[in-house]
């Protein structure tokens, strides 16, 4: 039943496909692993290198301006982290680093801005209350 040229050709194609899948799958997984690893590393480095206190203070003292500065300033990934790394790693690392660092900057500045706004609000409520009671 399973004999003849068509069957042999089909078997050949199937074998080639199987070998291709076996060879390419680990390579794809390795490339994905490398990207995941690069992104994880970049996010950790960005969290370590970005001074949250500084950006909180910028938001607190600079208000909206501080917040805009936090959003506008592009954090640079450290070049030393790209030495000896593959092209895939370099591309992923830089994208993830900048995204994470900017996220931290903006978040902290926003928090600082919010805290400052809260203080002003309380201050004016107290002043208003004092004025109305006299």
């Amino acid at each position: 039943m399973f004999t003849g040229v068509p069957f042999r050709n089909a078997l050949k194609v199937f074998s080639i496909l199987l070998v291709a899948i076996m060879v390419l799958s680990p390579m794809t997984i390795m490339a994905q692993d490398e990207s995941t690893n690069a992104c994880m590393q970049a996010e950790q480095d960005a969290a370590m290198n970005t001074n949250g206190t500084l950006w909180f203070a910028a938001g607190c003292l600079g208000g909206i301006v501080g917040l805009l500065v936090a959003y506008a300033i592009q954090p640079n990934p450290p070049a030393s982290k790209l030495v000896g790394k593959s092209p895939t790693y370099v591309a992923t690392y830089t994208d993830c680093y900048r995204s994470k660092a900017k996220n931290i900057q903006t978040h902290k500045a926003l928090l600082g801005c919010g805290v400052a706004a809260g203080f002003y609000l309380v201050y004016w409520v107290v002043i208003a209350a004092a004025a109305s009671s006299t």
Partner: protein, 227 residues
């Protein structure tokens, strides 16, 4: 930022115009495999740098003030990164820092607030200038025989602490240079150790024109990136 300022100030004030060396950097990190990178580095003050990585892959990194090229001769691909901030030189900050007893901190506005003698070691404690205290942290420098043997620093928020040990000093020209620098960095998430070993250090030697004017071959696709 601080490392960058230090490197530039130190390279300008040390009398060293160029550095050529072989390096090996071994890094270990909590929960990760040890990683080793080795190659040759050429540095010309204040910003130019050419790094030929040999292991674990072939890579050429060249940077100048606000440009960075990363070229992969085997993969035949390259990046050209332009930055808005100056690129700090890498691998040579430790050497340049060790040439100064104050690590160049005084020029950055740091103030010596305390000093103690611990046996044969002098400990000096440095506080950042008041207007930069939110961005810069304090430093502790340990000197033995007028050579920097340990530097401890922490970020202004105190969350990241870093300790560098300078060892295997050898005389190169008129300078005592540490041939090994071990740095341990701790933060809330991890402990990271980096050991940089140097070999064949040459100071103020002539850097070949072929490197100074190196260009990525025209047929290589270059990915343009703006930081």
């Amino acid at each position: 930022m601080l490392v960058f300022l230090l490197a530039v100030l130190l390279s300008l004030s040390s009398g060293i115009q160029t550095i050529v060396l072989d390096f090996q950097r071994v890094t270990t990190e909590t929960g990760k495999q040890e990683e080793s990178i080795s190659g040759r580095l050429y540095f010309k003050q204040p910003f130019w740098m050419f790094v030929q990585v040999q292991k674990p892959l072939k890579q050429i990194m060249m940077s100048d003030r606000r440009e960075l090229w990363i070229y992969y001769p085997v993969e035949k691909t390259a990046f050209h990164i332009t930055t808005k901030k100056d690129n700090p030189p890498i691998f040579v900050q430790g050497i340049l820092g060790a040439l100064k007893e104050d690590f160049g901190l005084e020029k950055l506005g740091y103030k010596l607030t305390q000093h103690k003698v611990l046996g044969d070691t002098l400990l000096t404690i440095w506080e950042p200038p008041a207007d930069k205290a939110k961005a810069l942290g304090k430093f502790e420098l340990y000197l033995a025989d007028s050579r920097l043997v340990k530097a401890f620093s922490q970020s202004s928020d105190g969350k990241t602490k870093s300790e560098s040990i300078y060892s295997n000093y050898k005389k190169v020209g008129n300078f005592w240079i540490p041939f090994e620098i071990e740095t341990k960095t701790k933060d809330a998430w991890r402990v990271k150790q980096e050991i940089i070993r140097y070999k064949n250090i040459k100071l103020n030697s002539v850097i070949p024109d072929s490197l100074l004017h190196f260009a990525i071959p025209e047929k290589i696709p270059v990915k343009e990136v703006k930081w």
